[in-house]
Each structure stands twice: as structure tokens, then as C-alpha cells.
Amino acid sequence: MIFGLPVISVTIWLPILFGILVLATGDDKNAPLARLLALVGSVLGCLVTIPLYTGFDISTSNMQFVELHDWITRFNIHYHLGVDGISMLFILLNSFFTVIVVLAGWKVIEKRVAMYMAAFLVMSGIVNGVFAALDSILFYVFWEAMLIPMFIIIGIWGGPNRIYATMKFFLYTLLGSLLMLVALIYLYNLSGGSFAILDFHHLAIPMTAQILIFIAFFFAFAVKVPMFPVHTWLPDAHVEAPTGGSVVLAAIMLKVGAYGFLRFSMPITPDASHKLAGVMIALSLIAIVYIGLVALMQSDMKKLVAYSSISHMGFVTLGLFIFNAYGMEGALLQMLSHGFVAGALFLCIGVLYDRVHSRQIADYGGVVNKMPVFAAFFMLFAMANSGLPGTSAFVGEFMVIMGTIKVNFWYAFAAATTLIFGAAYTLWMYKRVIFGSVTNHHVEELTDINAREILIMTILAVFVLAMGIYPLPVSEILHASVNDLLLHVAHSKLPI
């Protein structure tokens, strides 16, 4: 409880409320006020999630901080919120990144400031709702509502090809969501009139239906992850999105897809998950290897990191569908770590873009001569992206590979190539951008990052290193929930 209000509801509605307030400041004459309000809102939004962490009981896999109220009684839909070890961490991650995004857009965004800040605040609240919803229709409402601010963010503040990218983003994700809606209604009727996600976990479902439901969920979640071959919206959206948009896409949006697999596909249709695990693993490995190679060939930094994200998310889906504790916990750590690392890399690219207005690798060279502090931070995040031990990315990738090797050596072998490819494309990009002699006058005129940017980078760097050196505080939160999930997945849901 915060001032007598339920914690999760506050984490959802406080940012949305501030978003509306920010929007009410009106046009760009009041931009400083809008920025200030947005910062206050995002910091408060981040602070109110702290009770979730401090009050969390790591010994149980039950939902905590549960709120349950009637909403649409006719369809037995409830306003039902709660968190377990998995969703709690993502709420923290999301609320934290909202602060980063507000700070990152502080100076750069000059037109329609209030709208920009409001869109991110509103989205932050909605995403918290996605992670906390325990009623599937409530989940669906948040899930779809999430698209609206993102659509506007990419469409207004994006690059030259932003309209195409944002339309593609919206329609791709809507396709999956609508199929999921059909599956949810089917489950509602099967369960005899309940939309509660936890009730779905105990349903007996025949094999054919399980497979169809799995496929419907697959479309919804695979598009968001994104998995090969429905990943093509991501590079477009990333490249065209403003820095803040890219950060949120990478750090948060991609996570809701994998979260969906954990919360819906695997526990509701475990038999179908096992049956189709081969396909999922194959798609994940294609993403890891093939997309890794694609990333190597990019000449645009943002596109490179976008492809690298797809490749890293391949690790996540691989870890999920090998069905063991190493894999799953590794996948979750990888998700968190990727949030920090990819978010940080997009911020680094944003720093360069704000100064030079180009994302092409070829337009840079010798940046280290002009921006030594920046180059150091960029180095750390580039290393983390290639999975260097001691950074957060290593923990997740290592655990997934450990889990995979128990299942099949060659799967693990294919997955492990990412450590090579990842290092290759990240460090090669780093070398071309940062090292060498100063290539052109744009680079000549560069100034090093300012205090605000150093603050953002430092915070991220601390998280990346802390999670890499001592991941226990995070992984112990996951333990109970992951074990419970594995029990669910191991248990056949076919009708007897």
C-alpha cells in the first residue's frame, strides 16, 4: 500500500495520470514545464515500484500484491492484478527505463515536447499493466493499448521513412493480437466462463485445440519478440524511431512477447509447446545465427543493434523452449540484461546522432579523439553486447547454453556461435566508429557527453556490471516462479 492505495494500481495509473497532466501543458511554449512534469512523473513512477521489490516474498510462486475487483460482470471479467517473480522484475525495468527515456529526450526533442513525454509516460503505465494483469481481457486491453502511444511516437518523431515503419509495426502486431483474442475467447468458453489467466493454467485441452491455441498465441507473441520470420518490422521501426522510442522498443516492448510465452503459451498449452518445441528451437537458432550474420552486414548503426536484438532474443526463446531451469532462468536474465545493454547502445547511438545527424557507420571514425568519456562507456556496452564475462549479458547467455547442452550438443554449438558473431559485429562497428583518425569535419566538431548524459550512462553501466558480477539478487527473485512454471509445463494438460 502507498498512502492507502494498492501498489500495482499506483504503478500503472500514476504515470498515466502524469502523462495526461503533461499533455495538458499544451504547446511548445510550455516545454520546460512539460519536461519537468514528465521527469517528476517518471521518477515518482519509478519510486512507487520500490515497495514491490522490498515487500516481495521470494519463497513463494504465488501472485503477490493481488488486487481483485469486478469489472465487467456480464463476462466475468475482473480488474485483477498481481505479480510474481517474473513480472515484478519487468515492472521495475520498465519504470526505470521511463526515467532514462525522459532524460534522453530532454534536449533532443524540440517539437511537440508535451506530447512526446506524455506518450512515454502513458505507455509506461500501460506496459506495467501488461505485466501485472492476471485477467486475460485486462491483459489484452493493456496489450493493445500499448500500440497506440508507440504508433504515435514512431510516426511523429521518427526518421524519414517513419510512416511506413509505424504502420507496419501496428498492423503486424495487431494481426497477432487479434488471433490471440480469438484464442482467449475460446479458452473462456472452454473454462466455463472465466477469463482469469491462472484458471486457464488448469484447463484440460485436447491436443488439436492446444496446437491451434499455441499457434494463435505464437502469432501474437512471436511478432513482439520478434522471432524469425516475423521480425521484419523491428529494423524498420527501430531505425525510424526517435532514440527514446528505440530504447523502449528494445528494453521493454520486446520483453512483453517473451513474457507472453511464459505466461500464456507454455503453461496453458504445455503439450503443444513440447510438440512444437522443435520448431521453436529451430526458429530461435535461425534468429541467432542467420540474423547475427545479417547484423554483420549492416552499414546503419541502429539497424545493426536492431538485428543484434533479434539475435539476442533468439537466445531467450531458445532458453524457454528447452524446458529446463537453466534455460528458463537464463532466458529471463538475458531478457533483463538485453534491456539494459540494448537500451544503452541505442542511447549511445542517439548521442552520436544528436550531434552528427547520421547513423551511418561510414560517417564516423576516430570519435575517441573527440569524445573519450563517451568512447569508454560505449566500449563497456559494446563488450556487454558481445557477451563478455563480468557483464550482465554473459550470465544469461551462459546459462542458456548450459541448459541447451543438456538437451542437444549441436543446438548449443549453434547457439554458442553468437559469442563469436556478436563480438564480430559489435566490435567491428565499434572499431569503425570510434577508433582510427578523425575522418571528417563532423567528427572534428564533436563535443563529449555532458553531465546529463554521463549520469544516464553511469546508471546503466552500474546495472550492467552489477548484474554480471553478482546476479543473485535478481535470480533469487526468479527461482520460485520459474520452478512453478516448469512444473506447469512438465504436467500434461490433455483431458484424461
Binding site: R74, F75, V141, L179, N189
Partner: protein, 483 residues
């Protein structure tokens, strides 16, 4: 049964008729500049009607005039909504019509006659009453479309509407006569009993059903009887388009359910399989054609076709869930279409129609609030939560899946996906493009308030849709299934 008992269930309609006649005469006494009094009188009439409808409401189903007329919960709810809708139409169109010299007594009287026709349809329990109401509605609408005499396109639209509408009425009448031949009665309940007890001439019955369905499809504007919809929507002055595209859908819903559910329930198997084809074709052609439109009114015309197709899915699935969801869908559709056409009229000026997609370019820079309202309306039409359009689609989908037609639900959502594209395009134009004109937008305080209530209503109902859903379900249950 004495006279009073017959008159009370129809009291609201009688009052309405009396007031129309009074307004018709009173309007003659008013000068052209004081038409505002007529307008206020019309609004007062609507208020009076709603008071009477609430006052004469009974908790049971009441039949009057030897079973020709029925007063039940569904009719009362639909009538209340039709008063509301009509009142909104008048508020939205006042300024628009004034600027075009169409703000005349004729317009308002015709609108009230159309309302009377609708309410007769809503309360009809007999084919003759149904037909009477339908014709009163249609004739008023034909005249309204033609009200702008000097506009060639409006006249053309009126002509098309009239000829095709007359054809549809003919089909309907022919079908009714066949049903009469097969069952020997025109009263819906009696027809239902006669069919249940077995009919001698099955082929006559089948032909009758097909003709009636065709006529019905015509009036609803579903494929393949949709040809008139885009032309009429496009050609008519926007105020008339708004009227045609919103409130009469309530009457059409009542019309369809009274005939199909109350009268021909035992033939459900036959008509629902025909409706499946109509529904899928409407969603396909409506959505695909809407993408190609550059004129917003035409786009909304095709979107109406789609929405009516979607509504039919509710009728196909049947039961309280099905009919209730169809009714909910219709009510929500009326709200959304009122708002959308209202927005076109708000942006129009004297001598300028803001009815192409380009006119909405950069609306966010010209008026962020209006752009936001329009965005809510468009998202609702596309069925994206947290707007109420989602729940309209959700309840229909739920009813189809419940009856085991999961494949139909998948078809429906795939077409919704296509539909989402052209609604998003409107949002894209408003938010991402630069405005083509910087003409100031003059919004009257009444229309401004109404559009805000309309847009926020779509959002509010999206957050709290439960009570309206329950009202629809309960009224359908009481009226259609329990007698």
C-alpha cells in the same frame, strides 16, 4: 381491450405525431431567421417523447391493436437511444445546415417523421406495421437527401436511393405476401406458431424467406445489396448522411430481429446460413473497397457495410449472447458514426466540405483536442481497446465462438485487421502530416461540447462497458426469447 389500453403503449409515437403536425404548422408562422425556435421545439419534443417512453414503460411485454404493436424493454431502450441519436444529429448539423441555407422547418419535420417511422418499426409486431414504419422512414430520408435541390450530386443520390429503396420495399412486400400465403397470417408471433406446427407449402415459405432476407439486406446495406450505400452517403449533404448512417441502424436492427427471431425463429437454420454468406461478403468487400477511397464519406459508407456485416455475425450466433451482442454492436456503431460524421461537419465551412482524407491532414496542429477526439473515434471503429469499439467486436466474437463457429471468428478478425488500416490512415493524416489549410476551425460551444462528450464517451464506455452490455442482453432476453 379498451381504447386506452391500446393507446398507452403507443403514447410516445402519438405524441410525436401530434408534435410533428404542430411544428409543421408553427414553422409556417416563423420567419427564416427565427428557425431556432423550431429547432428548440423539436428538441423539446424529443425530450417529451423520452419522458413518455419512460413513463409508459412496463415490466412486461404489452401488445396493442390486436397484436400489431408491441411495447417491451427492447423497444423502449431502442427508442430512448433513437431520441438521443436524433437529438445529437440535430445539434451536430445545426451550424452546418445554417451555413448552407438548409436549416429549414422541412428538414426538422422530415427528421421527426423519420424518427416516427423508426419507432413504429421498433415497436412493430406485425408485417404491416413493420412495412408502414419502414416506408415512413424511407420516404422521409429520400426527401431529405434531395433537400439540397440545386446540388446535382445530391439529386442523383436521392434518385438512386429512391429507385433502389423502392425495389427493396417491393422485394420485402413480395416476400411478406408469400409468407402470408404459406402461413395465413401476418402477425409475427402467429407466423412463428404456424411454422412450428408445420407448413404445407414449404417452397412458398422458402421463397418468402429469401425475398424477405433480400429486402432486409438491402435496407441494412450489406453485400450484395450494398450498391446504393456509397453513392447515397457521398452525395447527400453530410447532415443527411449522418442521419442515414446512424439512428436508422437501430430501427434496422429491431426490424431484422423482429422478423428473423420473433417471426421466423424456426427457420433459423436456413436464414443463418444465408446470413453467413452476406456477413463474410460484406466484411470482405466493405473493408477492401474502403481502403481505396479518398473521400471520407465514401470510406465511412464502406465501413458501414463492414460494420453491418459484423453485426450480422451476432444474429447468426443467436441466443441472448448473440442477439444481445448484435444490439450492443448496433448501439455502439451509432455512437461512433455520429461522432465521425459530426467531425466532418465541424471541419466544414460555408462553401467547403471537409469530406476528403486530405482535409484531415495535420488536424493535430490545427486543433489537438479535435484530433484526439477523432483518434478515439477511429480507434473505436477499428476495435482497438481501450475504446468501446473493442467490446462491441469482443461480444460479437464471443457469441460466435460460443456457438462453435470459431473459423468465422477468425475470418472476422482478419477482415478487422484490414479495416484497421484505413482507420489508422486517418490518424496518420491527422498526426503525422502537415496541414494543407490553416483556416481557423469555428466550433460552436454546443457542437464542441457534444463532440467532446461523444469522443470521451467512446473512451469511458470502453473502460466501463458492463452496464450497457447488460442492458442490451436483458432487453433482448425479455423481448425476443421469453414469450
Amino acid at each position: 381491450m379498451n381504447l386506452m389500453a391500446n393507446l398507452i403503449p403507443a403514447a410516445a409515437e402519438i405524441f410525436l405525431l401530434a408534435m410533428v403536425c404542430f411544428i409543421l404548422i408553427a414553422d409556417l408562422m416563423l420567419t427564416k431567421s427565427s428557425k431556432i425556435f423550431t429547432y428548440l421545439l423539436v428538441q423539446l419534443t424529443l425530450l417529451g417523447c423520452s419522458i413518455i417512453t419512460v413513463g409508459t414503460h412496463e415490466n412486461t411485454v404489452v401488445y396493442a391493436f390486436n397484436g400489431m404493436y408491441v411495447d417491451d424493454l427492447m423497444s423502449d431502450v431502442l427508442k430512448m437511444l433513437s431520441y438521443l441519436g436524433m437529438s445529437m444529429v440535430l445539434v451536430y448539423s445545426r451550424q452546418y445546415l445554417m451555413l448552407r441555407g438548409l436549416f429549414t422547418g422541412e428538414f426538422m419535420v422530415l427528421a421527426l417523421f423519420a424518427l416516427l417511422g423508426m419507432n413504429v418499426m421498433i415497436s412493430a409486431n406485425h408485417f404491416l406495421t413493420l412495412y408502414l414504419g419502414l416506408e415512413l422512414l424511407s420516404l422521409s430520408l429520400y426527401a431529405m437527401v434531395a433537400l439540397q435541390r440545386d446540388s446535382a450530386i445530391a439529386t442523383e443520390a436521392a434518385m438512386k436511393y429512391f429507385v433502389l429503396g423502392a425495389l427493396a420495399s417491393g422485394l420485402l412486400l413480395y416476400g411478406m405476401s408469400m409468407l402470408y400465403g404459406a402461413t395465413g397470417t401476418l402477425e409475427l408471433g402467429a407466423i412463428s406458431n404456424a411454422i412450428a406446427n408445420g407448413v404445407q407449402n414449404k417452397s412458398l415459405l422458402a421463397f418468402g424467406l429469401v425475398f424477405i432476407l433480400s429486402g432486409l439486406a438491402f435496407k441494412l446495406g450489406v453485400v450484395p445489396f450494398h450498391m446504393w450505400v456509397p453513392d447515397v452517403y457521398h452525395g447527400a449533404p453530410t447532415a443527411m448522411t449522418m442521419l442515414i448512417g446512424s439512428v436508422p441502424k437501430l430501427a434496422a436492427f429491431a426490424f431484422a430481429t423482429r422478423i428473423l427471431v420473433e417471426g421466423l425463429q424456426s427457420l433459423e437454420h436456413d436464414w443463418s446460413s444465408m446470413l453467413i454468406i452476406l456477413a463474410i461478403a460484406s466484411m470482405a468487400i466493405g473493408n477492401l473497397s474502403a481502403i481505396a477511397q479518398t473521400n471520407l464519406k465514401r470510406m465511412f459508407a464502406y465501413s458501414t457495410i463492414t460494420h453491418m456485416g459484423f453485426m450480422l455475425l451476432g444474429l447468426i450466433s443467436g441466443g441472448i449472447e448473440g442477439y444481445g451482442s448484435a444490439m450492443f454492436y448496433t448501439v455502439i456503431y451509432m455512437m461512433m458514426s455520429l461522432g465521425a460524421f459530426g467531425m466532418i461537419m465541424l471541419l466544414s465551412r460555408a462553401g467547403f466540405e471537409a469530406d476528403t482524407l486530405n482535409d484531415f491532414k495535420g488536424l493535430n496542429q490545427r486543433s489537438p483536442w479535435l484530433a484526439f477526439m477523432m483518434m478515439l473515434l477511429m480507434l473505436s471503429m477499428a476495435g482497438i481497446p481501450p475504446t468501446v469499439g473493442f467490446y462491441a467486436k469482443f461480444s460479437v466474437l464471443n457469441s460466435i465462438i460460443q456457438t462453435g463457429h470459431t473459423w468465422l471468428a477468425i475470418v472476422a478478425v482478419m477482415f478487422s485487421l484490414i479495416g484497421a488500416f484505413y482507420y489508422l490512415r486517418v490518424i496518420k493524416l491527422m498526426y503525422f502530416d502537415a496541414p494543407e489549410s490553416h483556416a481557423p476551425i469555428n466550433v460552436g460551444s454546443d457542437t464542441g461540447l457534444l463532440i467532446s462528450m461523444n469522443g470521451l464517451g467512446v473512451l469511458f464506455l470502453g473502460l466501463m462497458p458492463g452496464s450497457l452490455m447488460s442492458i442490451c442482453a436483458v432487453s433482448v432476453q425479455q423481448s425476443l426469447l421469453l414469450h
